[in-house]
């Protein structure tokens, strides 16, 4: 059942659950952060509308910098502005930022230690028809390897709005990962959010057999899988790991201790991503069998988001199969 403490959307299981792009939540969050603090500025590399930074840019044109199609310049200019006391948000597609400008992010943002927030939209294979060139499935790995970088992958638009507003107050380098497509709204305005805190969204009655840790829009698939397995008597706990760095180690270890079997689900290469972060933690703290769902060392292609998520093994049936497999492994 839904964890009542999280005050989730009661319509989550319905066919008519609200569908909103995660990036929309970022746009609204940045607008609010801009209203709350005049130091917040926005920079964009010619993708203002698609990354939803237009909500901020239209309201605060003087605090918005259009750098053109130049992602290296995007982050280095932002670094200079942060050095002068601004709180810059820089947006583009995740494939280009942090895809193209990784070294500039490393040297001028994290090594330099200035509070720039990198907003990578259109992440994952669910970008769809644009194809493999535009599907960032390496960005979590690229960002979480950097010392000082905070990494957040919100599960829906409402969480993205809260995360954006929280990042504006963080005072540290950060990366926030957004998806293009409309996805189900899982949380509500009343759902708690805190950077660095994992949340259990779905809990069975009694101790869980398997823990599923998911991030981004795939949290919804994980919850649907858990709900379906309820009927088969398989008890699954689903954790929304919105903050991939810093990792909520106590929450992950507690889930592993309870279930002794973990499945991770992310729209990202399994190498170096969220699942890897979980594995690094558990290998040290409490080793248990883990199944990693995500893209398995290949590139994406054109298709509908649904086709692609299922083709690359991140659909509800794939999650169910992984849960059963990891149960077998622990027995």
């Amino acid at each position: 059942m839904l964890n009542p403490l999280q005050k989730l959307n009661p319509k989550i299981w319905n066919d008519d659950v609200e569908q909103v792009p995660i990036r929309q939540g970022f746009g609204e969050g940045l607008l609010q952060a801009g209203i709350d603090n005049e130091k917040v500025v926005g920079l964009c590399a010619d993708l203002t509308e698609s990354t939803k930074m237009n909500l901020f840019a239209d309201r605060f044109p003087k605090r918005f910098v259009q750098v053109g199609v130049a992602e290296q310049n995007l982050v280095t200019t932002a670094s200079g502005m942060a050095a002068m006391g601004k709180i810059p948000f820089v947006s583009s597609y995740a494939m280009f930022s942090p895809g193209r400008n990784w070294e500039q992010i490393r040297t001028t943002i994290t090594y330099n230690n200035v509070p720039v927030i990198i907003v990578g939209s259109h992440a994952g294979v669910s970008v769809g028809p644009d194809g493999g060139t535009h599907q960032a499935i390496e960005d979590i790995a690229l960002m979480r390897v950097l010392p000082r970088m905070n990494v957040i992958a919100p599960c829906d638009s409402i969480e993205a709005k809260k995360a954006t507003m929280a990042l504006a107050k963080l005072g540290q380098p950060a990366y926030i990962r957004l998806a293009r497509e409309k996805t189900p709204v899982i949380t509500t305005e009343d759902t708690p959010f805190e950077i660095g805190k994992a949340q259990v969204f779905f809990s069975p009655d009694g101790l869980a057999h398997v823990g599923v840790i998911a991030c981004g829009s795939l949290v919804h698939n994980a919850m649907r899988a858990a709900k379906k397995l309820e009927k088969e008597g398989i008890r699954v706990k689903v954790m929304n790991l919105a903050t991939i760095k810093p990792l909520d180690v106590p929450a992950i270890v507690a889930l592993a201790k309870e279930t002794k079997a973990i499945v991770t689900v992310e729209e990202h290469q399994v190498a170096g991503g969220m699942g890897s972060a979980v594995a690094e933690c558990l290998a040290k703290q409490f080793p248990v069998p883990i199944e990693f769902l995500g893209v398995q060392d290949e590139y994406g292609q054109s298709g509908t988001p649904l086709e692609l998520v299922e083709h690359y093994g991140m659909g509800v049936k794939d999650i169910i199969a992984a849960i059963k497999k990891v149960m077998d492994r622990k027995n």
């Binding site: 310049n73 670094s79 006391g85 040297t107």
Partner: protein
């Protein structure tokens, strides 16, 4: 116009800075020689004349900002900061050593007197552009803090530099003054052979910058260029400063092999003797 006394004072300071560069490199046993010596006059002019700063208050909000983009010439940056009073000159001998604030390339956390960390080339101009845009955002055309950036010619081969060039022109950053160390050397040879930049002035002009070409080892020329930059309101200014790599040490001057290596003990002794006597112009009390 600088007075004759001021020029002599700057020349003396620059010479002391050059000696500190050699001494630091001798201790470090690695590092870059040619660029730092060539840019000693530009750094001296900046920190001992042009820049609004206060070594006693390094975090003074109203200070001008200086960005060194080609971080590898940091021996001249560190030596200048030490001679300006930011930290003891003796500390220069810790250059590149374990635990030293004087990292092989500058890091703003190790050494808070530098505004940015640099080393990987081509990223400094954009950071300076960000600083200048930030001030224009807050103060508009009345922005008075100047943002200075020093670049190398070699790093003009980086695409990131030209992205910053375009953005600075778009915002008509009158509060930004950039100087390029046009010494025509980089690690693998002469810049014009590795990747020709000429006609460099025309390139910058066509990107809507105000361009001034000078002898970067001549204080009068440096002064008039920096003063001229302050009078240009409608665009950012770049000073193409032709410098002699290895300036002041005869056997290093103009030779690209000195780009990325330090002198050995014997060469260092010779270099220091030459600097001490201003190339034989004065007798040193040590001889």
């Amino acid at each position: 116009m600088l007075s004759d006394e001021k020029i002599l004072e700057l020349q003396t300071t620059a010479n002391n800075i050059r000696m500190s560069i050699i001494e630091a490199l001798l201790e470090a046993k690695s590092g870059h020689s040619a660029g730092p010596l060539g840019m000693a006059d530009m750094f001296t002019y900046l920190y001992f004349h042009a820049l609004r700063h206060d070594p006693q208050r390094p975090d003074w909000v109203e200070r001008d900002r200086f960005v060194l983009s080609n971080g590898h010439i940091c021996p001249v940056y560190y030596s200048t900061l030490a001679h300006a009073g930011y930290f003891p000159i003796a500390e220069l001998k810790t250059l590149r050593k374990f635990g030293s604030r004087l990292q092989g390339h500058p890091h703003r956390e190790w050494l808070p007197y530098v505004e940015t960390s640099s080393g990987p080339l081509g990223a400094g101009l954009s950071q300076a552009v960000g600083m200048a845009i930030s001030d224009k955002m807050d103060f508009g055309d009345t922005a008075t803090r100047r943002i200075y950036a020093f670049l190398s010619d070699g790093e003009l081969e980086e695409g990131n530099t030209w992205e910053g060039v375009m953005l600075a022109a778009k915002y008509k950053l009158h509060n930004l003054t950039v100087a390029v160390d046009y010494n025509n050397i980089q690690i693998e040879g002469y810049v014009e052979n590795v990747m020709p930049l000429a006609p460099l002035a025309e390139k910058w002009r066509s990107f809507n910058w105000h361009v001034i070409e000078i002898d970067g080892n001549d204080f009068n020329a440096i002064d008039s260029a920096f003063e001229e930059a302050k009078t240009v309101f409608e665009k950012p200014t770049v000073i193409l400063a032709r410098t002699i790599p290895g300036k002041g040490v005869d056997f290093m001057e103009g030779d690209y092999h000195w780009h990325g290596v330090p002198p050995n003990a014997e060469q260092g002794k010779k270099a220091l003797a030459e600097l001490r006597t201003l190339g034989g112009k004065i007798k040193s009390e040590h001889q």
